[in-house]
Symmetry: C2
DNA sequence: CAGACAGGTTTGCAATGCAGACTGGTCTGT
DNA sequence: ACAGACCAGTCTGCATTGCAAACCTGTCTG
């Protein structure tokens, strides 16, 4: 089994999913974002986005920060260090795989 | 929506699946292969490999060539021109997405 | 007060990936 | 000749997904 194949066999499915790869890539660039912004950028449906965020949170790849600004709930999402590491690993794996 | 995101949103799920990406990558390199060889290279189970090959055939990304060599059935798999093009497109998309 | 919008969660459905059991045939050893 | 191993797959059943639409709570606007 070649390196390229080994790389593919070991990719993290959580990140590999295109919708989630969009999310983590965005968060990697902007550091922090809220739900609506992610919704607009990704063009996913709300339910879908919510589900993907939940999955990423469950994998501890992102951290949800809910707080109030006055009466308005302000939720922001950002990558955890683990999330950043996994994204880097994923990128490296895919680069290896794609030659 | 950035180019990177657009690229991700449009990836072909048939090829994106790691197991199938292994298969098409292998076939791209070797031009032609049989079931056992693919089985050994990918380390998938037979049922799994069979299902993925069927899906790739259904998408017209690969072509199955069954013939007899004496009494022994000799099946070989190879990419179609469409399969090669789609792999190229996928690679380009992922490179764009991963920066 | 009605309606729009933010910020999600819950539900239901169809498709998928996966492994293991099964089939049908050939080859090898005794 | 027969048992067992191997090749080449297919079939089946299961659990997990991804997806969209419906729903919910609360705020803000006209």
């Amino acid at each position: 089994m070649s390196d390229a194949l080994r790389a593919l066999a070991s990719v993290d499915r959580t990140i590999h999913e295109p919708a989630r790869l969009m999310i983590v890539s965005l968060l990697f660039l902007v550091k922090e974002a809220d739900f609506l912004w992610l919704l607009n950028q990704t063009e996913l449906t709300k339910g879908n986005l919510s589900a993907h965020l939940a999955k990423l949170e469950q994998a501890a790849f992102l951290q949800v920060d809910k707080r109030f600004e006055g009466k308005i709930p302000r939720t922001s999402y950002r990558l955890t260090p683990l999330g950043k590491r996994e994204l880097a690993r994923y990128r490296a794996a895919m680069r290896t795989a794609l030659g």
